[in-house]
């Protein structure tokens, strides 16, 4: 009973349903939105359907018991299948049967020819030398007066299949290690501040960090079109026991920072406080030019009477750069709104109002940065799995096993030779190869006589 169960676990008949089952589960996981809030699902599906989908854990497919069970079964299948074939593998690496398997046109090449006056011993020696040079060192089998030389090439490529299956087990093991022993969380840090814990990706229990993480500065730069971001960059310092151990290290997208087994990634950003915009005001002649720094909504009196108010500020308006919308209120009670551009003061001129000039001289935007902090001790396992997988697949693709038997049977006035070549892949190329080999051998044996 147990043995039958183990044989089932190891069989290819189990592999196919597992592969298809995982594929179907994955399809469901992309078609049904995952991990939304109950309210969001309410808007998507009728209540009855929601109950069914939830019961089947289709709202969190990749963590559902059935998806993980399928992965576990696949791992068991790989493991038992490899284990079962291991003894045969060792044997096929070392040994080659004394005679070819029964003829099968799809995987074998056969040619016979007659060598007049040849004797089996001497010819076998010559063939062995030829094979050693052109194919691989043959083994010699004797049945009475008949001699068979058997040789194989690329037998070790059977190892590639084991490597591939082992690699997948390594990747699955690495994934599990990461899931149990690793963590991921976000550090949301305003410029100049330090955090000691992370917001978790799931749930709401904060994850303590083994060090303090300070954001010294965050910058975002844009391409000339003003819309496409060029670079997001955080400068961070790492503190241990209040002491700075790493200072002003840059983290950008694609360039994380590693410290103490934790990798820190640039993930997001946002404004930590309203921008502070410095306006330069040139009032009409009796008034004196002055500068004032305002946040949106704030207002300042002007030296010649009236007020200026900052309505709105955007760091990038179209492709015109930093732009502020200001409102001028005269002492008479009239009000006018006008945009001013830091990089295009020439456009400010268009809005001149009674000799009053307003320019945007600078602005300050305090940011917060969002860093993803990740600890994943499974990564080395996954990487070694990847390397093994790539190597195994490349080997299995480039090479395959070929076996060759040459049977020498003494006849009345000579020697009958039967060449049997066997391949696993690429019949056309293999057939051409064995045909060429047979002709070369024929020529060489003829020469010696």
């Amino acid at each position: 009973m147990t043995e039958r169960f183990l044989r089932f676990l190891a069989s290819l008949r189990l592999t196919l349903p597992l592969l298809f089952g995982l594929a179907l589960g994955a399809v469901a996981g992309t078609v049904i939105p995952q991990n939304l809030t109950p309210a969001e699902y309410e808007g998507l599906y009728p209540a009855a359907l929601t109950v069914v989908l939830k019961a089947l854990q289709l709202f969190d497919v990749y963590r559902s018991w059935w998806f993980i069970a399928l992965l576990g079964l696949l791992a068991a299948n790989l493991l038992f299948c490899s284990w079962q074939r291991l003894p045969a593998l060792g044997k096929s690496l070392r040994d080659i049967p004394a005679a070819p398997p029964p003829y099968d046109a799809r995987r074998q090449f056969i040619a016979t020819f007659f060598l007049p006056g040849g004797d089996s011993r001497g010819t076998a020696d010559a063939v062995a030398v030829f094979l050693k040079r052109r194919f691989s060192t043959p083994r010699r089998f004797l049945h009475g007066t008949n001699v068979t030389l058997a040789a194989q090439r690329g037998a070790w490529t059977s190892l590639a299949v084991f490597a591939i299956h082992g690699a997948i087990l390594l990747v699955l093991g690495g994934g599990m290690t990461g899931a149990f022993l690793g963590f991921q969380g976000y550090a949301v840090i305003p410029e100049g501040k330090t955090v000691l814990e992370l917001l978790p990706r799931r749930g709401d229990k904060p994850i303590p960090l083994p060090f303090g993480l300070r954001c010294d500065a965050f910058t975002v730069t844009f391409h000339e079109d003003g819309r496409r971001p060029r670079e997001f960059k955080s400068l961070v310092s790492i503190l241990e026991d209040g002491r700075v151990v790493r200072e002003r290290q840059a983290i950008t997208v694609n360039n994380p920072l590693s410290f103490g087994g934790i990798r820190l990634y640039q993930s997001d950003y946002g404004p930590a406080a309203p921008p502070r915009v410095t306006l330069r005001v040139h009032p009409p002649v009796p008034g004196v030019p002055f500068e004032t720094t305002l946040a949106p909504g704030e207002r300042a009196p002007m030296t010649h009477g009236g007020e200026v108010r900052l309505v709105r500020f955007v760091a990038n308006f179209r492709d015109l750069g930093p732009t502020a919308l200001v409102e001028v209120m005269t002492s008479g009670g009239a009000s006018y709104a006008l945009p001013v551009f830091q990089h295009r003061p020439d456009l400010d001129q268009a809005h001149h109002f009674k000799d009053l000039q307003i320019h945007l001289s600078s602005f300050q935007q305090p940011y917060y940065t969002v860093l993803l902090a990740s600890r994943d001790p499974g990564v080395p396992l996954v990487w070694s799995g990847f390397i093994l997988l790539a190597a195994g697949l490349t080997t299995a693709f480039l090479c395959s096993r070929r076996r060759l038997w040459i049977a020498l049977a003494p006849q009345k006035d000579g020697l009958a030779l039967t060449v049997t070549g066997e391949w696993r892949r690429n019949p056309a190329t293999a057939t051409a190869f064995f045909r060429r080999l047979t002709q070369e051998m024929k020529k060489e044996l003829g020469k010696e006589d």
């Binding site: 290819l12 592999t15 298809f20 994955a26 997001f232 990847f386 697949l393």
Partner: protein
């Protein structure tokens, strides 16, 4: 002159090649197939020229921020056309299968025209996430894999036609299509190449994701669909070893695999939200 112009020239050659392949299928004169092959090669050369020019243009326009032209939907459509043609010519060179051209050139032409007529051919600087050396390896391996699956699918179609031809009455004495065994073999080889390349594509993507997004696997729809494609072709390769799975079920499985491949590339970009949204229209 720009890359766009050369892609149009390529489209003209491919259209002529397609006509010749169709004539070849109808008249069964070998010289027609040979000319179809030559024109396909010319089309491929113009596509290559267009790509080289576009690459150079991106450096002229963006300075040191220039990049390989494999970074948006337009470029991916043209590049798919390029890889499919390359895969066809390689297989034809090795196995002499000009009739495959009658299936492959329309596909290549379709994608090329879709790019030229609907795509945004402007060259833009890259967003920060795409600025990585992994980009080239990842996109190259994935798309070469897609192309191998496309050609495998084309041979599967030919196989299904060929086997149907035989069962319907007398086998034709001089058939246009090669022996089913040859088609099966070409199909298997193409799937094998595709599987290797797709695996390398997933691995490079995973390594890149670890560097850019902080996780080698995050069940993003693109990642998940590449896994679905991988599982289907893994099933195909294993099904070949189980007795009872002959040519026909495998051919159908190959059609399913390529449908999933197309969805992984186009469907995910156009229908599902996710991290791989650079490719959206």
């Amino acid at each position: 002159m720009s890359g766009f112009f050369f892609f149009n020239v390529a489209a003209i050659f491919l259209f002529a090649a397609l006509l010749l392949f169709l004539l070849f299928a109808a008249a069964r004169k070998l010289f027609l197939g040979n000319w179809g092959r030559n024109l396909t090669l010319a089309g491929l050369l113009f596509l290559t020229l267009g790509f080289a020019l576009r690459w150079w243009e991106s450096y002229r326009l963006l300075g040191h921020e220039g990049h390989i032209p494999l970074t948006n939907f337009y470029e991916s459509l043209v590049f798919f056309s390029w890889t499919v043609l390359l895969a066809f010519l390689l297989i034809d060179w090795r196995f002499r299968l000009p009739i495959l051209g009658a299936v492959v050139t329309p596909v290549a032409l379709l994608f090329l025209l879709a790019a030229q007529l609907t795509g945004d051919a402007a060259i833009h600087p890259l967003v920060p996430a795409l600025k990585s050396n992994w980009l080239t390896f990842h996109v190259l391996t994935c798309f070469l894999g897609y192309a191998a699956f496309a050609v495998a699918c084309a041979t599967a179609v030919l196989y299904l036609i060929r086997t149907k031809e035989k069962t319907g009455g007398q086998p034709p004495t001089k058939t246009l299509l090669p022996e089913p065994e040859l088609l099966e073999e070409v199909h298997y080889q193409a799937v094998l190449v595709g599987f290797l390349l797709l695996t390398l594509g997933i691995l490079t993507g995973s390594a890149w994701a670890h560097r850019a997004w902080g996780s080698y696997w995050s069940w993003d729809p693109k990642e998940t669909w590449s896994l679905i494609v991988w599982l289907i072709y893994a099933a195909l390769l294993h099904a070949r070893m189980v007795r009872g799975w002959g040519g026909k079920p495998l051919a159908w499985l190959s059609l399913l695999g390529f449908a999933a491949t197309l969805f992984c590339w186009l469907g995910v970009n156009l229908l599902l939200p996710g991290l791989h949204s650079y490719g959206a229209l």
